[in-house]
């Protein structure tokens, strides 16, 4: 059922209006039909009453004003026999109607019967037809007729009048359907046009929001269009977009300034400590300065990773992983690389290299060694870095990728950086449309998986 129902605003409103219109038109059609039926019944009753009362002796009365009615007249029959044939039942509704009309005319029937029968079953009509061949051409006397028999008080004879039924009036039903359909088309058509004027800008706004969420660039903003409400929505969105972009720019400028303003004095300090005589002391100072510089770099990277300035380039991922692993090998770190097939995909190599360095660095630092592998899984390239350390408590796993989180629950700098490595790696994965997944291995140790989509 859910698949059948439209999901869009346009579809849902159109469907609701169409259904409501159909129901309303249906009710109105039924009411109209019943009113016209009643009118017709009243017409028969009046006609039959007139015949029974006036008892015209001719079959056809020329009626120029109402030419179509002339043939319906057939002179009344006087018969001592009961007017209904065996098996026919009295139509009580019509009897009551006719009785009320006759009473109004001052005729109080002693007996009154009304029934409907086929013209072909009526010998009187057949007899009249034979005598008046011109009647045979009248199509009215071909289907059904209403037969009304009246016996006045004190009489022994029935006066019988007949009225042909030319079926229901299909024309009126067809008119009703045509009218409903027309109304339907005009209304729904107009509504669709109106709704499109609303939903078109809304759809454009949705696409724009999606683009902005990805690029965070204010280029290609929408022109307000559609009804006033939509225009205001688009204008408000544009203003908000501008504000967000300005905030992001501000952040970039601020971070750049912080980076510059902190690194220059740090550089000065680094130069000055060269005059410290004690070599051990000097090296400790240099290490501290390097530490601060690294943390600064990490913070700046994390701030910039969402808005990369360099383009995606198709790069050999296998060679990239190999070159990062080789850096560690050159530093005599225990890192292995299991090469899979060659995988190339669009990436920002500088960033990805950094993510890998962080993951491998973590594995070596906390897990003793890093086993790196690269393989293709469906549409993903999966770089896995596995270590043989203690892993991470399951409750902590999700929290580990948040900035400034470190495994030991302490802020002891001797064992690591500022706790930005995994946060940066995750942000870089997301920058490439991928994910970073951390999991404890069943055989012990942590497995960090960098999943990058090969198709974008």
């Amino acid at each position: 059922m859910r698949r059948v129902l439209p999901k869009s605003l346009l579809g849902q409103v159109l469907l609701a209006v169409a259904l409501a219109l159909l129901v309303a038109q249906g009710i109105s059609a039924v009411l109209l039909y019943r009113a016209s039926e009643q009118r017709r019944e009243m017409g028969y009753a009046n006609f039959l009453a007139f015949q029974l009362v006036a008892q015209p002796q001719i079959d056809i009365r020329q009626n120029t004003r109402n030419g179509g009615q002339q043939s319906r007249q057939l002179r009344v029959e006087h018969t001592p026999n009961y007017p209904l044939r065996p098996g026919e039942t009295i139509d009580t509704h019509r009897v009551a109607l006719l009785r009320s009309v006759l009473t109004e005319q001052g005729v109080v029937p002693a007996k009154l019967v009304v029934a409907q029968r086929k013209v072909a079953d009526d010998p009187y009509v057949s007899e009249r037809m034979r005598q008046r061949p011109d009647l045979q051409q009248q199509p009215d006397w071909s289907q059904d007729e209403v037969v009304a028999g009246l016996m006045r008080p004190g009489e022994k004879e029935w006066t019988v009048a007949r009225f042909p039924l030319n079926g229901s009036e299909p024309r009126s039903v067809r008119n009703l359907i045509a009218q409903t359909a027309l109304l339907f088309l005009v209304l729904v058509g107009l509504l669709a046009l109106l709704l499109r004027r609303i939903t078109h800008p809304l759809a454009a706004l949705t696409r724009r929001l999606e683009t902005f969420a990805q690029t965070r660039e204010t280029d290609g903003q929408l022109e307000p269009s559609g009804p006033e409400d939509t225009r205001r929505l688009i204008a408000a969105h544009n203003a908000m977009e501008g504000r967000i972009a300005a905030l992001l720019d501000e952040k970039d400028v601020m971070l750049g300034a912080i980076g510059h303003d902190l690194k220059t004095p740090l550089a000065a300090l680094r130069v000055r400590i060269e005059s410290v005589e004690d070599r051990v002391e000097r090296e400790r100072m240099a290490a501290t300065i390097e530490d601060i510089a690294r943390t600064l770099d990490d913070i700046l990277s994390l701030a910039r990773v969402g808005r990369p300035t360099d383009p995606l380039e198709i790069t050999d991922l296998t060679a990239l992983v190999a070159s990062v692993v080789e850096e560690f090998e050159d530093m005599n770190q225990p890192v292995t690389f299991e090469r899979g097939q060659r995988i190339a995909l669009p990436m920002r190599a500088t960033w990805l290299r950094r993510a890998l360095r962080n993951l491998i660095g973590n594995a070596v630092r906390y897990g003793g060694k890093a086993d790196v592998s690269l393989r293709r899984e469906g549409d993903d390239a999966v770089i896995a870095v596995e270590d043989q350390g203690p892993g991470i408590a399951p409750a902590e796993l999700a929290r580990m990728v948040e900035p400034f989180t470190r495994g030991e629950g302490s802020r002891n700098r001797a064992t690591g950086g500022a706790g930005l490595g995994l946060a940066i790696a995750r942000a870089i994965a997301e920058q490439h449309g991928g994910r970073l997944i951390l999991a404890n291995r069943p055989q012990g140790g942590l497995r960090a998986e960098l999943r990058l989509p090969t198709k974008r």
Partner: protein, 244 residues
């Protein structure tokens, strides 16, 4: 030749807190250091005396370091090392493309700066014109952009190489079809990051093969010459770098 004795440096940085101790340090290393606190002062200092090398801060009030660097490399053809607070690769490329010879990120190790000054001066004294150095190498469908250190395979995929692999490849490309023995290769690839090249040449060659050969056990491009060394089995063309 005692390098420092006659080497004159121009140090341009607006931060006195860095400029002064750095000038002192460099003077202790035997350089003759002149200081300028902004681009205007640097320009007037250049009129009085042409230094051997300029150390240039990127972010300065007034005319910034990049603009001055462009001026220096275009009109004076002076070696320039940029000092920068930014540590991103884009800056490196921007700096090098406008004519800087090298770049150090603050806070740098003073010893490393000295090593780089010497390395840049050594390269400058060899005096190959810089446009030659920047020309693209093309071989067997591959391309190497020496400026951006970008190796591209015949399908156009970028193949990342380490700096050691890059220098080794450049050595091969500068001597196509020649047999290069291990000592010769070691000589040629000694760069400023020589310590990274402690591993045997063979190791680097095998790494390079894994990245470039279809089957690294049956190398077609970098061939082993029995008893001799290695040889690049391809013709090399040089072409001016794309301006992109």
């Amino acid at each position: 030749m005692t390098e420092g004795a006659s080497t004159r440096l121009l140090l341009v940085d607006d931060e006195a807190s860095l400029r002064e101790p750095l000038a002192e340090y460099l003077a202790r290393q035997g350089f003759v250091v002149r200081q300028a606190e902004d681009a205007a002062k640097a320009r007037s200092a250049l009129l009085e005396e042409t230094p051997d090398l300029v150390l240039l801060d990127i972010m300065m009030p007034g005319e910034d370091g990049l603009s001055l660097c462009r001026h220096l490399s275009e009109s004076k053809n002076l070696p320039v090392i940029m000092l920068t607070a930014k540590g991103e690769s884009m800056d490196r490329i921007v700096g090098l493309e406008i004519g800087a010879d090298d770049y150090v990120a603050k806070p740098f190790e003073p010893r490393e700066l000295v090593a780089r000054i010497r390395s840049v001066l050594r390269r400058a004294s060899k005096a190959s014109s810089p446009t030659d150095e920047d020309a693209l190498y093309e071989f067997d469908g591959w391309k190497l952009d020496p400026l951006k250190r970008k190796l591209t395979d015949p399908e156009g995929t970028i193949v990342p190489v380490s700096s050691a692999e890059f220098r080794l490849l450049v050595a091969f490309l500068n001597h196509p079809r020649q047999v290069l023995d291990r000592d010769r290769l070691l000589d040629m690839v000694q760069g400023r990051e020589a310590h990274l090249f402690d591993r045997a040449v063979d190791n680097q060659v095998s790494r390079l093969r894994r990245k470039m050969e279809h089957d690294s056990r049956d190398p077609k491009l970098i061939q082993t010459v029995w008893g001799g060394g290695y040889r690049l089995a391809a013709d090399v063309r040089r072409r001016p770098a794309d301006k992109d």
